[in-house]
Assembly symmetry: D3
Homo-oligomer: 135 residues x 6
């Protein structure tokens, strides 16, 4: 049996989709309204899906207090009420598309988890647009 535990977190952030090495015209063509130089923003919702065996002692795959704390530190405290492009070094050279944000979060959370766990990240940019990352 494969058991997966899922915990939700969230952060509210501003961002802008663009590449510094492209002209404003090309950025507008590719990224449209998302290339507003003054930024726009989202309420991001993050689900961390952690898979592994159930510990027969506790009945837990992973203690949710630990997973909650990892998400608080690595996701919420890092990105909440931030401008992803301007405030967060992860995106100084990386376009903060939902895909790239999810990959960054995947790596940050994976790095704090015991290597025995598999991880999937689901990131909601809106309730109509969302992405998943799994290795």
């Amino acid at each position: 049996m494969k058991i997966t535990v899922i915990r939700k977190a969230h952060f509210n952030a501003a961002h802008r989709l663009y590449r510094k090495d492209w002209s404003m015209e090309k950025n507008d063509t590719v990224f449209g309204l998302c290339n507003n130089p003054n930024f726009h923003g989202h309420n991001y919702e993050v689900e961390a899906h952690v898979s592994g065996p159930i510990d027969p002692e506790t009945g837990f795959v992973i203690d949710l207090k630990i997973l909650k704390e990892i998400l608080k530190k690595e996701v919420h405290d890092r990105f909440d009420h931030k401008n992803l492009n301007e405030d967060c070094e992860e995106f100084f050279e990386l376009n903060p598309t939902a895909e790239n944000i999810a990959v960054v979060i995947y790596k940050l959370v994976k790095n704090k988890l015991d290597s025995k766990f598999d991880l999937k990240i689901r990131l909601y940019e809106t309730n109509r647009n969302f992405v998943e990352v799994v290795a």
Copy 2:
């Protein structure tokens, strides 16, 4: 890494579950209330899950404007405010169960996507009944 982008669409439609080649009695036995000859209806919600590599240029798996447009044309405009049995040729000879509707949508959307993408369709008939199709 496997990256998946999900986009939602919806349509409101009437339908009836029955087979022309079965008696009314047999249709009633198998399909119950869903065999109302005057039809009933649903607010269908559709999720298209598109998987592929991130384009390093744009940071997108697929430009959501393109996916949104495919869903508008192939799903919303085709089925919204329609009677699936009476108005939609896809169901003239196919019983519009949630399963069959999802398979039809899978084929319509897959046909418009670059072949490099994997696709999964999730279709909500209600928020208690839904189906998934993946090839």
Copy 3:
């Protein structure tokens, strides 16, 4: 203090917006896609808001088993898996707009409630369009 108890019910139905005494052209102009002669449909969600004093004996405004039963009989069993225009006498001469459906439900439920209660009906046609009726 004013105390209100709210209970949800639902029904899935087909309908069509039109007036028999108008031409097809006028119906199309006013009701657009909702005037599909073959009908379309919705998952309707209904909230009954019942206000009154708390019974000091039970701690209830109204026993939810009673309210649940009223909604089952007067709303769910009457309208679920029905064509509102064709199957439901309430709409043989009344255009089944969300407004009119909510007024009909208001009257049906009010009629079964003790007169000491105030009632409000909220009806969701979709999660973007809904109506409220209160007397």
Copy 4:
């Protein structure tokens, strides 16, 4: 009977809470993380609640196509993918708190509605924080 029709819209925007005439220290004390000079953002959801009599001709309080169009023009197109502080003149001299945004939207929508209608605006900044404005 009082009948109310509700229609939802949304916009994704960046904002910052602060007053130009206050010191950075005072802004930080009062507005905390919301005073990030680089902005943060939200997926705003807006509900317009329009009350009035049912038109016996159509069965509508207000044609939803009209209300939808007002919300598209006055709310979505004006604020979506914008920085409220930098791009929207409504907030050049007004702190874009949820309360103030809702009042601005109330006035914009009220101004386009027939005066016979009552209006309430509900604005979700997140699904934990929201505001209502009614005159």
Copy 5:
């Protein structure tokens, strides 16, 4: 204009509906499964609706940090992961129906708010059953 700010909180608790001064038979007749002597439980969701004028200085009706803190102390920390009947003195002599819980929360929150504010409490016992209290 009447402006209302709404903030959500939650708590997960066990409870049982019964009156000590009634026989087990009478409790069963009135409260049914809710009279399980070993208790059952719910994820309760609470909305505090606080109405008052907008402070022209801050643009706030009430600083959400303050409202959030009141809800944390008076609702979450008091009732979360508790048995309402056994652990919470508010219900030692009061049947913890949704109505009574909402009235208790109304009083606890009202008591901590500036008297200039009006308050409404909405309490979800499930997403199908909920109550409102307003004075």
Copy 6:
């Protein structure tokens, strides 16, 4: 093609996380507030995901009436308005963590399904914490 049909059920229950063979101190350290000796509770939501081929006769993977009945009997009627630790033999010797509850439900439902079907169970303890079990 792999087709999956999903049906939702729910139950409201009390529980407590602890091991009889551990001291109160160790139980507190590991399970924290969840080790309240008087129990707490949740609104559990269950999704049964049943995968198999579409029956070309009916257009169904599985008749939802059958799946609904299995969930009613094996999940709702067994656990609703119960104390999992005290009333349900499945947990007399098994700690009712979300993981263990989901495994128990997996086995109960799998046992009633035709062996040709694959099953996944998703169990929501809250809308922030949930688990999945798949064999």
